[in-house]
Amino acid sequence: MSRRLLAAALLLAAVTAPAGLRAQRSSGAGAGLDSATSEAVGRVLDGARAAGLPAGPIVAKVRLGMLRHAPDSVILAAAQAVAARLLEARRALGPLADPADLAAGADALGTGVTADGLRMVRAAAGNGAVAVPLGVLAELTASGVSAGRAAAIITALVRRHAPARELVALGNDVNADVRAGAVADASLGVRVQRLEAILTVRTVPSATSLPTATGTGR
């Protein structure tokens, strides 16, 4: 009797395992979604991979949606939105952008940064990595700084070879000011003066002034 039970269990496992494995292979993130949504998410992922885009940010968004108990339709829309932003980020950052830069670009687009803003930072950084300046740009925009002004200032700082730690500090300081009740654009205007002083003291190829009141609103 026990051998029959064992054989039945093995047979059952053999039948169900491939389906489970297929679900895992397709996305690694579809478990828990209804079948239609899971298939649709799988198509989004397949399309992103076929386009040479990183699938990680899409999978992460789906998992976050599931953790947050978002409706399946919202999760699918979120996956599609991330894929679209990754594609737009690659158009703006160029075909040689690595997955980290693409993810940073897609993240920035999600906070309100424009594709032009991505192009400006890319042009200023040359062949250097842009994940940190784009991350700070995203944070400034998310804090309420107008997208155009934030992009112009970050671009100018990157062009003047501002160290990553100073860019990060700028983003953190503006965020802290906003949490304390300050207006984001005003905070940026004040905080950037410190960087202006630092970069003026350093020997840099082009000591152009940072923009102060430019850019359009979101």
């Binding site: 940010p57 992460a60 968004k61 998992r63 976050l64 953790l67 980290a100 906070t111 994940a131 990553a164």
Partner: protein
């Protein structure tokens, strides 16, 4: 292995990790090391027997190594007293004490990643995980370890430079933001997550 021994091992492992980070030596320790080296070289080797010169160099090397090791331990102790969690008291505007201080990367680190520590405080939680875009929001990828005798949980992991969103998952069910970090609203889901920007010095 008893729970106490496991905690000791975790503490010891963390100590080893911190020591391997080679925190900056205290200036006075460096000065003592330089002075010791200078004093050791005041007697020209040509005037001393070769064996005495070798012994003298050996003592100098040992002294310098001992002072450097003491400086490293002192630096570790100082760093231990300035953990991000403790630094994350309510921050004054313009300070870097909001838990988002950029940490220096060591020469031995993977150049594409920076070591980052996350700290969570709860004396009632049974399990805490770190979830974020850097681990695909996977609740199993980065469990936090509770420090013995305290409500402080922590995990250290490598992060790529840039902006990251994250949260803590408490007891497999509660999605908790980091009170020491700014929050942002997800563009697609509308939910709130904590934010950290990681940058190389």
């Amino acid at each position: 292995m008893s729970e106490h021994e496991q905690e000791l091992d975790a503490t010891l492992a963390r100590a080893i990790t911190e020591l391997r980070r080679e925190p900056p030596a205290r200036p006075d320790a460096v000065a003592r090391a330089v002075e010791a080296a200078r004093a050791a070289s005041t007697v020209p080797e040509a005037l001393a027997p070769a064996s005495m010169a070798r012994r003298r160099r050996r003592r100098t090397i040992l002294a310098v190594a001992g002072i450097a090791a003491a400086a490293c331990v002192a630096g570790y102790a100082a760093r231990g007293m300035l953990e991000p969690g403790e630094r994350a008291a309510p921050a004054a505007a313009g300070s870097a004490s909001n838990g988002l201080v950029v940490q220096a990367a060591n020469a031995g680190d993977d150049p594409a990643h920076l070591t980052w520590q996350f700290v969570f405080q709860s004396s009632r939680a049974h399990r805490v995980s770190l979830i974020g875009d850097f681990n695909g929001w996977d609740p199993t990828a980065a469990p936090l370890t509770r420090a013995a005798g305290s409500g402080l949980w922590s995990v250290t992991l490598p992060l790529t430079p840039g902006r990251h969103t994250y949260a803590f998952l408490v007891d497999d069910s509660s999605f908790v933001l980091d009170p020491r970090a700014p929050a942002t609203r997800d563009a697609d889901l509308g939910s709130k997550e904590s934010v950290v920007i990681v940058g190389r010095p």
